[in-house]
Symmetry: C2
Subunit: 331 residues, 2 copies
């Protein structure tokens, strides 16, 4: 298997991202094609004691899509960027999957332009697998590919999320819920009420409405669907809540000697907390519905997060998810 890693558009240095790629390649025994500035990549290889060859190859690029670039214009104007060249190479079959921590909107727009959609899927959706207290991951889709959706888009997000849960996460009979502001039928905005009706009338394993405060603590379904605007606000609001708690605790610990002592004893507990809830910095979010395996890593990804995103890409390729999605879309 060969994974294509775009190392130019993230918040961290290409060197840091390459470090994650190199360690993944060894661990998983895969080939790595790295898109970016060739001099930078070669010197990073050297610093990791590696050299260009069949295991580690380079896709040279001269342009960089910046985080603040308007997505559609960026992929139209920056044809020599690692992002656009990388997606072209994926389409050409030079790699099995594409992993990028760049501008999310640009990865989405570029993927639609270069790879196209899977036949029968109206809109691709970004799926985020995030940890929950009961243990197993929950798939939330869409978290930002589409700000304006109609009910049919959510129905297809549900189908794709279920295929992902079944094939990649190995959940035999996954269920899907609709993110809403109340549990009862009839709640929500027009989009959500329409989506509720479509989901109920479908043959999907629909469990009804689920509320935002239950997702992490109760895991009310294996897959939860929403429009990309709401999904994005949800993820960032959870992050805000988690950050607020940890900042407040840190502040109290600094201020009081007894708390400082207590924190020493609780070090293991805090580490466990970080590991369980760090869904933003770890892992990768597969972009489902485009005709290629694309995994979006967080912009702030470090080496460890990139390794984890490459894992997500490998699992998608190994399980042949793309073919399953195409089959479900036909069915």
């Amino acid at each position: 298997m060969r994974i294509l890693l775009d190392v130019m558009g993230g918040d961290r240095s290409p060197k840091e991202l390459i470090k994650g790629g190199v360690s993944s390649a060894h661990e998983r025994n895969i080939d790595l094609l790295i898109a970016g500035d060739p001099d930078l990549i070669r010197s990073s290889f050297a610093s990791h004691g590696e050299r260009e060859g069949s295991r580690f190859s380079i896709l040279p690029s001269t342009q960089v899509v910046q985080m603040a670039d308007p997505p559609v214009r960026a992929v139209r104007d920056k044809k020599q960027s690692s992002l656009v060249l990388g997606l072209e190479a994926l389409r050409a079959g030079d790699a099995d999957a594409f992993v990028s921590p760049a501008n999310t909107g640009a990865v989405v727009a570029g993927s639609i332009f270069q790879l196209g959609r899977i036949h029968g899927i109206p809109r691709p959706g970004i799926a985020v697998p995030f940890p929950t207290l009961p243990g197993r991951e929950l798939i939330l889709i869409d978290v930002g590919a589409n700000s304006d959706c109609v009910a049919d888009h959510l129905l297809h997000f549900a189908k794709m999320g279920l295929a992902y849960a079944r094939k990649v996460l190995g959940i035999e009979k996954p269920s899907v819920g609709l993110l809403n502001i109340g549990a009862e039928e009839g709640k929500g905005n027009r989009l959500i009420r329409n989506a509720f009706d479509m989901l109920r009338q479908s043959d999907l394993p629909f469990v009804g409405n689920v509320e935002a405060h239950h997702l992490l603590t109760d895991r009310p379904a294996d897959v939860v669907v929403c429009d990309g605007f709401v999904g994005n606000v949800f993820l960032k609001a959870v992050e805000g809540g988690v950050n607020a708690v940890t900042s407040l605790l840190r502040r109290s610990i600094r201020e009081r000697l007894t708390a400082k002592l207590g924190a020493l004893f609780m070090r293991g507990a805090f580490r466990k907390l970080r590991e369980t809830l760090s869904y933003r910095s770890r892992g990768g979010a597969p972009l489902l519905g485009v005709d290629g395996a694309v995994v979006i890593a967080h912009g702030r990804s470090d080496a460890e997060a990139i390794s984890s995103a490459i894992d997500v890409a490998c699992r998608e390729v190994e399980t042949g998810l793309l073919a399953h999605l195409a089959e479900d879309a036909r069915g």
Copy 2:
């Protein structure tokens, strides 16, 4: 000043809610009109050593709006409920403000039917003042009165939120931000892009887009506007994040002896945390834009939360907010 308290529709017993009302009435030296089952109320008075009189009076009702009742039907069909009778009494001038922990949708629908909207305001909005790490409260509006909004609604939420920040919170020159999924102009769904344009063209102190993960930690504006669906998801997602962290810590503490010891030392820090972040159980959310002072308390409100909601109502009445909102709407 006389506050009308609806004690029938909350999750807790009327007795618990009356306890909060009675202690508030003494603390703030105000009169209390309690809407609900008269026998229940009288026996609660007795258990608190109070009796019916000019300080504590009763508005007898025979029906109860349940949490799961469809809002519009409930206020149409249950004319003898504490909710409907209470709002009628507010309109008739028997009280200065109405406080209820009942079915939020029913309080909104009932308020629109019984009190009407302030002239010039297209939709009322629920404003939630919630604590932030920098210390001062931030006003988020709307958090659930309107699931489907147009940009003009958000413009009026901004005006009302700013009036609240100025008059009730005493912030001399409050600013307003738009809840969005990115900081740059052009981000978001159609509604939000339209609202951005309207806010920028207005003479309001608009600071631009603000993102969900910054609200609690950075307090990027005094007032933040969004549609009621997104605002409701935001609040519940933050609650979910906070609950997940605290549950995980609690679990780790139970599992390890050292963590248990640490938690003892950190007791003060945990208490501080609860006090700072308990915005759902404490306080009340004013329903702005209807022609009367209505404060929605959380359904799970206990005596302390009811006291706090009564505080919110008193501050609204004392500062003459209603007249300011009407004036701003004319201007």
